[in-house]
Amino acid sequence: MASIGGNLPREELLEMYRGMLTIRRMEEQLARDCAAGKLPGPVHLYVGEEAIAVGVCRHLSERDWITSTHRGHGHFLAKGGDPARMMAEIYGRADGICGGFGGSMHVADFSKGIIGANGIVGGGIALAAGAALAVQLDGDGRVAVAFFGDGAANQGVLAEALNVAALWKLPLLLVCENNGFSEFSPTATVTAGSIAERARPFGLPSVEVDGNDVVAVWQAADVAVRRAREGRGPSLIEARTYRTRGHVEYEVTFITEPYRDEAEVEAWRARDPIDRLARRLREEDPAVEAKLAAIAAAVEETVRAAVRFAEASPEPDPASARGHMFANA
């Protein structure tokens, strides 16, 4: 099969295109829903950063583990989470993947290896290290991946995880999504030096990649995941990207002064990872257009089906609100 984009098979590229577009269209739907007041809680969208989740998760199976962040829809979907059940969850419905108990910041599906989004910045890092320990003990080549932001990199638990991962050679991949901001603070104002470098004193390999280039992410992840599977230990990837939407969808209600230049946002929009991959594919083979269109159509249908599913789902039963606190009650 023809291969472009750093030797990746075209089928792989098209799958990544589908993956990124699914995240994008799902979230555009959520943005509209939020603006329309249809979502009960806050949503943090991943728009512009899709290449990272997809480029990494293409190397993972359902039996590998990931932990995610408050900006977790992309990881959930890229790891094989069900769009319709995610939508229902964010709508707060009974058929949501967490029955409406979790919402946007807690979408999880353990059957798919998704330990879940996390409302605690940095909270997923230790969980992934723990999952890496579990799979290391199983000894069957599985890995754990923690996605976290540049802001989360300033939580001390990252250093703690780097240390233990290095000492125990955990099959762990730490993926920092550096999107330029911790909420409304530009990275440089709250993050000294280089995040990728922070792995070095512990003797961990780390690499900085263009997080808006899905092929670059795929390649970096390929190396790191392989390393982990082969028992050669953990790695850190810092993927540079940008969130082109707000930190949280409702920020327009309280941010009275802009915290960034519109020109900066525009410049990054021009580097949109989905458009970039599409351009690349078209350059290689103009005939790919039909395939892209078919994918786009299928994705639109996925989104519509997700909305239909979510809207058709009933509200959770209030009598169930005490929920599943304990397994052995």
């Binding site: 009960p40 979790g102 919402g103 605690i120 909420e183 603070s185 309280f254 609100a321 929920g323």
Partner: protein, 322 residues
Amino acid sequence: MIQAMNEALFEEMERDPSIVLFGEDVKASLFGDTKGLWKRFGPDRVRDTPISEALISGMAVGCAAAGRRVVCHMMFGNFVYTGMDAIANQAAKLRYMTNGQIRLPITFLAVSGGGRSAAAQHSDAIHPVLANLGGVKIVMPGSPADAKGLLKAAIRDDDPVFFLQAAGRGGEPGEVPEEDYVIPLGQAAIRRPGRDLTLVAIGAMVRPALKTAEALAGEGIEVEVVDPRTVVPLDLKTILGSVRRTGRLVIVDEARDTCSVASHVAALVAERAFEALVAPIRRVTVPDCCIPYAPVLERAVLPSVETIERAVRETLDWRRPA
């Protein structure tokens, strides 16, 4: 409420140049309480920190120990757990362990409690956990006017104080006096007098408690609503005085039931005003579960006018079994 807090912060920082304020995104101000402070007081006294709760709670202690008056913004109550070590092991203990050598004038700000579909990791009511530490004071304002006066008291206080604002209810309206006034910590307010039953309501629960009392007044039931305003120190005298008059007590606390402040108030009254009680003490609290996301679920676990009213009626209707 937010407006009142913002005014208090402006006035206090103006008044006392030793005050320094820091936290995550205090410049952009997610809640609005710290809005404009950075512009007015500059980047030395108002600092955006990285997301490093373990550090910033500890820095608050060190900075205060070294002579500053500190306002440390922890954002959501749940993030206090992330910075818990310095709060529980340092802030709450350093003065005692050193035999009173120092003062630690720190005001920790955080929103606390549910009601906005922010789900389990952004909705905990953390005051019971903090109250058991013994070494931090806890302010829970029930109205904007109180918020201003109590926040000023908190800032001027020489001890670590948690000022817990009810999440998502910050926009609540209410008159706020213009002038510089301070409401001393440890003084409850009787929000509404009544002879039939004492209803102690904490923080954001004051409002639904008052609504319940109003509704019942239409039936000739006179409920006395007591707002402790601060959980530590607790104005037990006012609570006991009220119960001695009414003989009945219901406590509303937006906290998980086990080891809640409601439990503690009940215990204190069951010990100190036992002879005055003519009915069981009831608590309206959150069941021992997390705060769920879906509004219909969340409403089912949070105290409401309906659940308060039911508890009040049950207490009034209670008759000693023959």
